[in-house]
Amino acid sequence: MYLVVSIAILITMALALVRALLGPSVYDRMLAVNMFGTKTVLLLSVIAFLYGRPDFLDLALAYALINFVGVLAVLEFFQSRSIRRAADRVDGG
């Protein structure tokens, strides 16, 4: 059963990768990366049980905690960039 689940997750990962490669907008890619991260967490958890080593769940936990930071960094990047651009426009005009 774990095997079927992990294959399904691998297929989902491939689909997310296709979206990340094709785009077209920045937000598509960002969502794809986020989804890819979630699927990695799932894949690690399932494979940990497939191998019979549930103590490896630590890794999935680490990913689940850290993934969030990457996405927030992207959001911060967009926010500060749009503020900077608005400020440039005010200064220029």
């Binding site: 490669l21 794809a32 990366v33 490896f56 990913y63």
Partner: protein
């Protein structure tokens, strides 16, 4: 089946790598690098290298994305296309690839017990770790004790890299002096605290990330993990605070002198354990003499050097993060 998983993941990895090289939009490249790192970690995990996968998780998923975006904020968004010398580089890449493929013909099969790598010192490590060090995670025993010199060298590589980055990004002496214009921009753009969901979820997560880092540090002898991963995870927690409340606020919580102290102090702590071994009558980085019972001494020594590694890594990553942010303000 393991092979199938690994081949599938490696195929995706190769596709992502080609896409990173092909794209000229640097933001897209950063996003794809995130996927690359996730794939790499999944691949390490499938091949049963949990410690390496945890390192890739700790550094690749969070911090490298943050640092890449920090760098991207300082440059233009599109890559300038370089045409000259394309055929030469193409030729070098093709030749190297062919040589590497040729070299793989002599490689033993994956997991072959008669492979040279499993004949040399590895059986001795596996055999002696329970007796000499008494901890279940052999990787920690090898990195911390048997090959302590290598790890000491790696810590100094981290410290040197940190010094190099700080020199290049040119942090001013005396820290950040707010100019009226720069200040307006940073207060307007500092952090995501005006957004409810990141604020609430992020504040909730910070203590757990730091706690998890400490768990990885002190549990490294029993499960995957150790000082390097712990340092990176704790640094991620503090970077999350910086993203939420603004970088200046995070610098107030962990000021620059403290960061420098962590970088230098961590590396010095590691070296000091080695010197303490000499002083107590052993050899450099021989922890057996640190306690009455040699096995206890080994465990104590490994724990102290892991703390040293964690301090150095955490301090370096945060210094580099702040250096990028400080550069962005000027």
């Amino acid at each position: 089946m393991v092979i199938l998983f690994a081949v599938f993941l490696l195929t995706l990895l190769a596709l992502t790598a080609v896409a990173i090289v092909r794209t000229e939009n640097l933001f897209v490249a950063v996003m794809l690098t995130g996927i690359f790192s996730l794939l790499m970690a999944a691949n390490f995990f499938v091949l049963d290298a949990a410690d390496v996968a945890l390192t890739e998780a700790a550094v690749g998923a969070g911090i490298s994305t943050v640092l890449f975006l920090g760098a991207l904020a300082l440059t233009a968004e599109h890559e300038r296309s370089v045409v000259s010398g394309r055929w030469l580089s193409m030729g070098i890449v093709v030749v190297t690839t062919l040589i590497l493929i040729y070299a793989t013909f002599d490689k033993p099969r994956l997991g072959d017990p008669r492979a040279p790598v499993h004949q040399h010192v590895a059986p001795w490590y596996l055999d002696q770790t329970p007796e000499l060090i008494g901890i279940p995670n052999v990787v920690t025993a090898v990195l911390g004790s048997f090959r302590g010199y290598d790890t000491l060298g790696e810590v100094f590589v981290v410290v040197t890299a940190c010094i190099g980055v700080l020199f290049i990004l040119g942090v001013r002496r005396g820290g950040y002096s707010p100019s009226p214009d720069g200040d307006r921009l940073t207060t307007a753009g500092s952090g995501l605290r005006h957004h409810l969901i990141p604020k609430v979820v992020g504040r909730l997560l910070i203590p757990f990330i730091v706690l998890f880092g400490l768990y990885v540090l002190f549990h490294g002898e029993y499960g995957p993990g150790g000082g390097f991963q712990a340092g990176a995870i704790i640094a991620t927690g503090i970077i999350l605070y910086a993203l939420l409340d603004g970088e200046a606020q995070a610098l107030k919580a962990v000021p620059r002198p403290v960061l420098m102290g962590m970088v230098v102090g961590g590396a010095t702590l590691y070296g000091a354990v080695g010197v303490a071994g000499i002083a107590l009558g052993g050899s450099f980085l021989d922890y057996s003499v640190l306690a009455d019972d040699p096995v206890k001494g080994q465990q104590l020594g490994i724990l102290i050097i892991e703390v040293g590694v964690g301090l150095a890594v955490c301090g370096s990553l945060l210094s580099i993060f702040h250096a990028f942010a400080a550069r962005g303000r000027h």
